[in-house]
Amino acid sequence: MLKTRLSTNHLLGIKDLTKDDIRLIFHWTKQFKEVISRPIKKVPSLRDITVANLFFENSTRTRLSFELAEKRLSADVINFSASNSSLKKGESLVDTINNILAMKVDVIVLRHPEPGSAKFLSQEINSQIINAGDGTHEHPTQALLDSFSIEERLGDLKNKKVVIIGDIMHSRVAISNILCIQKLGGHVAVCGPNTLIPRKIESLGVTIINDIAEALEWADAANILRVQHERMERSYFPSIREYQMQFGITMKRLNKVKNIPVIMHPGPINRGVEISSEVADSEHSIILDQVENGVALRMSVLYLLASQAENID
């Protein structure tokens, strides 16, 4: 029996969600997928709600996806990005956000380079927070849409095997994915240069596979992460070319695998580095499905959170 409410009032990370919460979010995602395939893709559910998208870090996909989800639900949307804001003039995070809240905002979608910023904010202010990525910590909506997309292709995640390939250390997507897949009963392995695999990651119940061929053979789905140059203050591998030779997913590599796994990538893709164009555009790839599901999933999260707002005037 499906629950009707989430067990939390904010979406800060997968860590705080129960399996039932995730199932509830998926249930509504399916409903909203139907909505966005209609001739008129907009429904009026959130028409009396204002959502602020606060992006203190660059983003294209996530931000567009959230904004589209909000608009398809008829919410009023305000956008804020750090690059052209008063933060440059020395204002603190809480002050900036209190100013925005004084304009009566119900839901905040926050992306911030500091891990834990979403949680911090949820304790400081009185509105619902959706974490759209906090540094190297969590990126819950991405993990949810990844798991949703895998289930759409392969059925229930229970006992399915997913390998996450690449820069695990700097990736919030990796952590959220590991937690989400495990909560749904799947198995997770990581594969990448040793320097980019966090120490003690086994304590999360994750297998480490060093050989890429072995990893692809093992997995039902492979989630390929981007090499995040911007988060690396030092060199973790000798050269891009060497990374590509060792861990880049190419058609040649996939053709040697008995059952080719479903190929995923959270974007943005470095074509020719972690994934070749041929693979990214092949029938094994569900990269564009991920993007499509992203909008429906974010609609689902917004809808559920807004529906349980405690104080309605």
Binding site: L2, T4, R5, W28, Q31, E34, V35, R38, P39, I40, K42, V43, P44, S45, L46, D48, Y303, L304, A306, S307, Q308, A309, I312
Partner: protein, 181 residues
């Protein structure tokens, strides 16, 4: 909780027959009319009515769909938890057509209002009519009246009017009374 039978299977059957005659009188030969059941409870009634008209009046095909209006309801955030949505089946074209909306019970009129809004997402029908099996008169909160109605009933707010499909090929209508807590 007390239950009483408002329409026996025989009475329901007669009522359905009358509604089918009325619909057929206005819409024959059905090439410009479509029947849409309101999810979740109007859909089954819509299917029964469609089949009956096709069979009794030898109509080849009546286009029909199922419409869910959950996302257009006006009580979102005003109730404990969101109402569950039902699947939509709107593969039919309604642009320029005469649409017959079918629901089981007409009560406050709010779900019909939501349905009218939801219908707008699929096009602009030439005309929309409303057909219900039971009309709970004097309980309307919006100015909405049915074009075809099976029976009128005066039920008070702690009573529920329910269609009972549990026996195969027979429909009865019950009124359930839950005393106030």
């Amino acid at each position: 909780m007390t239950k009483k039978v408002f329409l026996t299977p025989r009475e329901s059957d007669l009522t359905l027959s009358r509604i089918c005659y009325q619909l057929n009188e206005n819409h024959f030969p059905w090439n410009n009319s479509v029947i849409i059941g309101l999810q979740p409870r109007g859909n089954q009634l819509a299917k029964v009515i469609t089949e009956r008209i096709q069979k009794n009046f030898k109509v080849d095909e009546i286009k029909n769909g199922a419409l869910d209006s959950t996302f257009h309801r006006d009580d979102f955030r005003r109730r404990e938890s969101p109402i569950n949505a039902s699947p939509n089946d709107m593969s039919i074209l309604i642009e320029g057509k005469k649409v017959i909306l079918i629901d089981d019970v007409l009560y406050t009129g709010r779900s019909v209002r939501a349905a009218l809004d939801a219908l707008g997402d699929y096009g602009r029908p030439a005309k929309i009519e409303l057909c219900v099996l039971v009309d709970r008169r004097f309980s309307r909160e919006l100015p909405i009246q049915p074009d075809y109605s099976g029976h009128r009933v005066d039920a008070i707010s702690n009573e529920k009017v329910k269609l009972d499909w549990s026996k195969e090929n027979s429909l009865s209508v019950l009124i359930e009374n839950t005393p106030h807590a």
